[in-house]
Symmetry: C2
Subunit: 247 residues, 2 copies
DNA sequence: TAGACTAATTGTCCATTGTACAAAATCTAA
DNA sequence: TTAGATTTTGTACAATGGACAATTAGTCTA
């Protein structure tokens, strides 16, 4: 670490502005915490781990850990998630950074929250490294969480609801070929609202990037539904024009 | 704290966190960077400082500095802004955290971006501490900025446009008693779009928390406009119902 | 095989909103 | 008194949103 002086000011305005050695600032750490929302057939859950180390040993927590000194934040989020839950290839987005001074008992650690939405049955999380357990928890009954993870979870849930209407994060939770009813259920579950079937259908049909196939649903005990497919290329066009479901 | 091993921790996935002394993680720092958008009569600017210290000495930059070890992030943003530009009492919001490994030449420093919108003429920034100059820069011609500040600025401008339609951050840039035309100009400037006068007016009038006064504009060389006032209490009611200008 | 059942799909009505554009009103300045 | 400038109101029509009903096309069961 270079022995340079800080650009940071002293707390006391009378202090020489160069009076704090820069080393004093380089004593912090940061972590990433991953909020993985798992959707499956009308239920929304979140992936938690049981911690196997202090602090908060045995508490349920978001999968999260310290970022390596030479690791980019985004990369770290993937690495940490894999380290603890063995799951990979989940695209996460940054949500918010939490920096209360006392949020971590071992020192100054701020944490950057990341989130993603996935189809629960696509993943097979199992604990590794210091995680004792992994478990999908229903959002309706979340246990007491370690650190300030409840706040991170809340903020991420808010973001999820907004994102669902602005970006096609729902592609991850619907089959490649899906019915409009399946699609509607995703929105109803996550936004915690009911929609009129007919009106929802009309709205979807205006979204030209959801293309009607000529195939039908199979093995249902009622009139089968036509299947639809998401067309990424067409979506990109519409997105440029500022598309938004806006429910 | 445990003793430190030499060298940086390996990214080798076979290493678990126990093989790296925790000290190795507590060698980072974080900073806050403030994006202060200043609006005045149809112009949008951003407050920059000229740096008086290395790194990037003499470069223009966002007002920003390292966070003290025992300082909350939000508090730090206010403190840093005041330290460098002498301005106070500006409500800022967190935007995004930037954490590229090599973004800071002195070591691992991630930065949390904050932003605010203010009436430019309400503030009187002047440089203090290690800031050589402060200056409002038009968004149309931004000089080369220090660090990754251009990215921070871009992200904040995006956020500003969204926020303008969702939250009454515009109260800071309109007089207590304002005309609809003044109000419209704020939106046109920041969103970089023109609106039809009549239609804009109708939209505003649906927002019940903008109350028509019985006073008139003075000293204009044309038909004077009625003045309006923002009613915070009424706003809070509508906000609960999910109000959004949605231009 | 007919009718019951279930859910998909289509259609209708009506109030609200968005948009383009025009007309009228009200002040100042000369 | 009139021109100029800008506010304010109005109008017409298309698009949208939401409540709700009718029709359709399958399976299931008697």
């Amino acid at each position: 670490m270079p022995k340079q002086k800080s650009g940071a000011p002293a707390l006391n305005p009378k202090n020489d502005i160069y009076s704090i050695p820069i080393d004093a600032f380089f004593k912090s750490a940061f972590s990433v915490d991953c909020v993985i929302f798992g959707y499956h057939e009308g239920e929304l859950k979140v992936l938690l781990i049981q911690r196997g180390v202090e602090p908060y040993e045995n508490f349920w927590a978001l999968p999260g850990d310290l970022v390596y000194p030479h690791e980019d934040l985004d990369v770290s989020a993937y690495r940490v998630l894999k380290d603890l839950t063995s799951i990979e290839d989940v695209k996460m987005q940054q949500v918010h950074t939490f920096g209360q001074v006392d949020r971590h008992p071992l020192g100054r650690v701020i944490t950057i929250g990341y989130m993603a939405l996935v189809e629960l049955s696509d993943l097979n999380p199992h604990p590794s490294n210091w995680a004792k357990q992994t478990k999908w928890h229903s959002l309706k009954k979340i246990p007491k969480l370690a650190f300030d993870h409840k706040s991170i979870l809340d903020a991420s849930l808010n973001r999820l609801k907004i994102l669902l209407q602005e970006e096609p994060i729902w592609v991850k939770v619907i089959p490649e070929k899906f019915t409009i009813t399946q699609f509607q259920l995703v929105f109803e579950t996550i936004l915690e609202r009911k929609f009129d079937k007919g009106n929802f259908r009309k709205k979807i049909q205006k979204a030209k990037f959801l293309k009607k196939l000529s195939e039908m649903e199979q093995n249902v005990r009622h009139r089968p539904s036509l299947l639809y497919k998401f067309d990424k290329k067409l979506y990109d066009k519409y997105k440029e024009m500022g598309f938004d479901f806006d429910f």
